[in-house]
């Protein structure tokens, strides 16, 4: 990202995030991002002669690029399976861990992850990126959420996930 215009892009992106309470996930695969986001960012980038790249681990290397790198060894592909297995005990942001994902909350609590369409949105960019790279289309993305109670108290960076006897 060239200097100067970066602040404009960041402001636009943050505005989108605040309005929708979504992260920057879709922007990691611009072709699959909502057109309202993409068009604003693309317009700002072109007018400011800036290049814009969003990535990380998820979405990013772990969720799409690693799978594609491994795919370079394939002669034929039947399935691409990507799993995110995260040890989040060091992550100190309670809002994300508790209200976003449901850790430390009762099982009847509805975290942001359970919002209809949220999982599809979160995985949409990596799935579309992989599909685009392999030259295929995406017919449908289905999301589901499954949670299990802990069998003991677990101390983590954002607090304690407590075992509750029922």
């Amino acid at each position: 990202m060239r200097s100067g215009v970066g602040r404009t892009l960041t402001s636009l992106e943050c505005g989108c995030i605040r309005r929708r309470r979504w992260g920057a996930t879709p922007v990691s695969s611009p072709a699959a991002a909502p057109s309202a986001w993409r068009d604003q960012l693309e317009s700002a980038a072109q007018s400011g002669k800036a290049s814009f790249y969003a990535s990380g681990i998820f979405p990013g290397f772990g969720s799409d690029q690693l799978a594609l790198v491994l795919a370079t060894q394939s002669k034929a592909i039947r399935t691409v399976k990507v799993s995110e297995i995260a040890l989040n005990d060091h992550y100190p942001v309670a809002d994300v861990m508790m209200d976003g994902m449901g850790f430390g909350r009762p099982l009847d609590f509805e975290p942001m992850l359970s919002t209809p369409g949220f999982i599809e949105m979160a995985w949409g960019a990596p799935i579309h990126l992989i599909a685009h790279a392999l030259g295929i289309g995406v017919r449908q993305i289905r999301g589901s959420l499954d949670r299990r109670p802990t069998h003991r108290d677990v101390d983590v960076a954002f607090g304690t996930v407590r075992f509750e006897a029922r």
């Binding site: 990202m1 990691s28 980038a45 814009f52 790249y53 990535s55 990380g56």
Partner: protein
């Protein structure tokens, strides 16, 4: 968390050299950390 940030930090020189517009990982080469090795870690040449 460091690795998450390094994905984009290491990509900076490649993104700067890219044409204007939105980029995905497919538009960039492997974003190698060109200056990550500490001097003491470099193999003698």
């Amino acid at each position: 968390m460091t690795a998450t940030a390094m994905r984009v930090v290491n990509a900076i020189p490649y993104v700067v050299e890219s044409p204007s517009g939105l980029l995905s990982s497919l538009d960039l080469p492997i974003t190698l950390p060109r200056h990550a090795l500490e001097p003491g870690d470099r193999a003698a040449t």
